[in-house]
């Protein structure tokens, strides 16, 4: 029983991490129509920046986490200004472009920080463990769950209860109409893009506590974000949350029951959802 | 023989009714004009007839056959063709290729891989006839994106005629055309034989009275009047709706 509970907790903590990552991805796609394949690379960059600040220079952990997010956000802004703006409404081209960015960011990361794996690193006061049902459970995982919950609450509130959220949702449904109402949609877009990418970078540092970081992680984590979006559906916080929790739990139990093939359970879930409800469990029709 | 029968057709988008309990029928060979102010649901009706949209409730019968759940391409096979209000053409292909695709759409050889398109000589003859009737044979090798708006609208109509349909849905065929170009289109429609039943959505009353022998009036998704052109002109409800709206025909509608 206690093993079961621990697995659930593993699933929820991983799910919280995936939520941080996938909600940004989903929002950017839902709002701007850009499928940012380099979202996983932004996660990686955040993790590396976090590592540099927290491990290499031994500075405050939360500074590292924030810096990771900010750098990722800034890179995404550069992408938006320098490239996506010029390809307005050309969605296929934008997507292919982000694909090129993945190669560039991956290789640059490998160049700057070396190709080897960096071991997981945690905040000093998060090191150590809690006692849950008589077993030791890493405090860092609990922290991820808490941070995840806070983000869910904040984003949900933003999406459903604020004017900004209403504007974003309106923009998703009918861009021309929203523009016609005199709202500076461009500013909103840029803000959403930055926020989503910031969360990717921040998630990178958080995730580094569990996964460490290495150049290949951008693709691996992208696949997981993808699975969340396919299963949960695009464009809503609720969809990202449902997808993230499902993937987290499937992954946790997959790793516990057949460790070699955990990833395949996720692929299987994706294929099943695609065959039954292609738009995702909570998604709008694609 | 009823070419088309619509029974209590309703379409809801969330809380909004685009169409509410619309019922009417069209005898074979008739020319029915569907009119109404912007937002009345005219294009939505066409989208449902065509199969691009699914009705929330209600049924449709094509020559007695229930097509309510039938896929769009199968309706085309039965003889239902449609033109679009906003030209839905293949912009990066040539005018000739556009017409060939339209002709080929209901031909049995459209899955052929073993012969080249050029081997099907009668398709080309037909393409020449079709394009000549809209004065586009000379521009057959031009890319559609390079021809004028009027020429694109002409091509749009030509594509919908290519399959020699039994039921032709024309959605604002003269939108954006000059008086002369519109007159040409009206002539083309008049020349269609009794084998083709025509439903036409139009704002331009010249087109409506020049082509239709029956009119249906929609308003906020509901059918409010039906009859011959004379009956509709005399109808007081219709006059009420259209009072002051004769110039409103140019506004882009959320149909």
């Amino acid at each position: 029983m206690d093993v079961f509970v621990l697995n659930i907790l593993n699933g929820i903590s991983f799910g919280a991490l995936l939520f941080l990552l996938a909600s940004g991805f989903s929002l950017i796609f839902g709002v701007m129509g850009i499928l940012n394949v380099s979202h996983g690379a932004l996660y990686m960059v955040g993790a590396y920046i976090g590592w540099t600040i927290a491990v290499k220079y031994d500075l405050n952990y939360w500074l590292a986490a924030l810096a990771g997010g900010v750098v990722a956000g800034l890179i995404s802004l550069a992408m938006e200004r320098g490239f996506f703006r010029k390809l307005y409404k050309q969605f296929n081209e934008q997507l292919l472009l982000t694909f090129g960015f993945v190669y560039i960011l991956n290789n640059l990361a490998s160049w700057i920080w070396g190709p080897l794996y960096k071991a997981p690193f945690v905040a000093p006061f998060l090191a150590g463990s809690f006692s849950i049902m008589g077993r030791a459970y890493p405090t860092s995982r609990i922290a991820i769950i808490i941070i995840g919950l806070i983000c869910v609450a904040v984003l949900w509130w933003l999406q459903d209860k604020t004017r900004v959220g209403a504007i974003v949702r309106a923009g998703m449904d009918d861009k021309e109409m929203t523009l016609g109402l005199g709202i500076n949609l461009n500013l909103v877009y840029t803000a959403v893009f930055f926020l989503g990418s910031f969360m990717a970078g921040f998630a990178g540092v958080m995730g580094a506590q569990l996964l460490g970081v290495h150049p290949e992680i951008s693709m691996e984590i992208l696949l997981l974000a993808l699975a969340v979006v396919i299963i949960g559906g695009v464009g809503s916080i609720q969809g990202a949350l449902l997808g993230a929790m499902l993937i987290g739990i499937i992954d946790a139990f997959g790793k516990a029951l057949f460790p070699e093939f955990a990833m395949f359970t996720i692929y299987l879930a994706m294929i099943v959802v695609l065959l039954i409800k292609p738009s995702g469990l909570l998604g709008r029709a694609v | 023989m009823e070419a088309l029968k619509i029974d209590s057709l309703t379409k809801r988008f969330g809380g909004v009714y685009a169409l509410k309990n619309v019922s009417f029928s069209v005898e074979a060979g008739n020319r029915l004009a569907i009119i109404g102010p912007n937002g009345a649901g005219k294009t939505t009706l066409f989208n449902i007839l065509n199969g691009q949209l699914t009705a929330t409730s209600g049924r449709m019968y094509f020559y007695g056959q229930d097509i309510s759940k039938m896929a769009t391409h199968r309706r085309a096979d039965l003889g239902l063709a449609r033109s679009f209000q906003v030209s839905n053409l293949f912009f990066n292909l040539t005018v000739l290729d556009n017409v060939l695709l339209a002709i080929q759409g209901t031909e049995s050889h459209r899955f052929q891989v073993f012969r080249l398109t050029t081997a099907y000589k009668d398709m080309f003859t037909k393409a020449q006839q079709l394009l000549s009737s809209v004065d586009l044979w000379g521009k057959r090798n031009d890319l559609v994106q390079n021809i004028s708006h009027g020429e694109q609208r002409n091509l749009e109509i030509a594509l919908s005629l290519a399959s020699e349909p039994r039921l032709l849905l024309l959605d604002e065929p003269t939108a954006g055309l000059t008086a002369a170009e519109s007159a040409n289109i009206i002539e083309m429609i008049r020349k269609l034989g009794a084998d083709t039943t025509v439903l036409i959505v139009a704002h331009d009353m010249d087109v409506v009275f020049g082509v239709a022998n029956r009119i249906v009036v929609l308003h906020y998704g509901q059918l409010i009047a039906e009859g011959t052109p004379e009956e509709i002109q005399a109808n007081s409800k219709v006059k009420e709706i259209y009072m002051g709206n004769e110039e409103g025909a140019d506004n882009a509608g959320v149909d």
Binding site: L35, L97, L226, I230, P278 | Q52, H73, R110
Partner: protein, 332 residues
Amino acid sequence: MGTAKQKSSGFLWQGQLIRFAPHIIGGVIFILLVPFLPTYIQSLMTKILIFAIFAMSLDLLMGYAGVLSLGHAAYFGVAGYAVGILMVHYGINSFWISAPLAILLSTLVAAIFGIIVLQVRGIYCILVTFALGQLLYSIAMKWRSVTNGEYGLTGIIRPDLGLPHFTWHTTSFYYFVFIVFAICFFLLYRLVKSPLGLALQGIREGESRMSALGYNTWLYKYIAFVIAGMFAGVAGVLFAYHNGIMVPPNLDVATSGFVMLMIIAGGMGTLYGSLIGAAVLIIIQFYAGVLTPERWPLILGGAFVLTIMYARAGIGVYLYKLYKKALLAWKP
């Protein structure tokens, strides 16, 4: 009068020369010149032709039918691994047995994946194909007993053609690949000029119109998907024989992206663009491998970005326009 006649026939001769210039140049380089080139160049050209077949298969799907795929290497890799497994684990060397089986397998995988991929539209297809490609990559990595995991399936030798007294050299293998390429090119050319080919382009340009005209668009896209998988398998078979080894990255997004860049750089929706794109990228890859192997992904990514931003139509299309202009200039 007499001189005018002579002049015009001189004009005609030069006009014909220009008309067939690309074919003549291509023929000279790819057919006549080859035996006289150094071995490593012959090998490079072999690789170019193999990837040209691979690229053409993707172009059929993306350039003609308009279905985006970032997981096309799945079918390429499956066929390559099939050939390797038959040879290494079962000792089957005969080309006439392994190749058809391998291509059949890749076609089957495409038939299954196609159903899943075509549940979604447009941009979403890229994501689903990406995921499915990575699924196969994972299988190749984990199924060590069959694929030897990350160390790769080694020991794939040139196949047995069943011809007496025949041994393989670089040059003979090149011509073998060239013949396969020519056959594939011919078949695909016929395909895109057929009614089905025209229909695929119509679907790319306007799927809703095509439905309204009577085409079952899902079925057409599916057919394109399966045929594309089949031809990718052909390339995979040749690749296995050429490379001698199959590794999991041959199935993953890196390879898929590489060949996608080829058709974008060469010109989508034109078969010759695939050959040009393949040539350009394989040559760049070779020299990057010699000069800065560590930075090859960076160069590839940069090439991707530059091509999309500034050469969207592709080099092949640009060259084709030049060719058309030259033809026009010579019309008497």
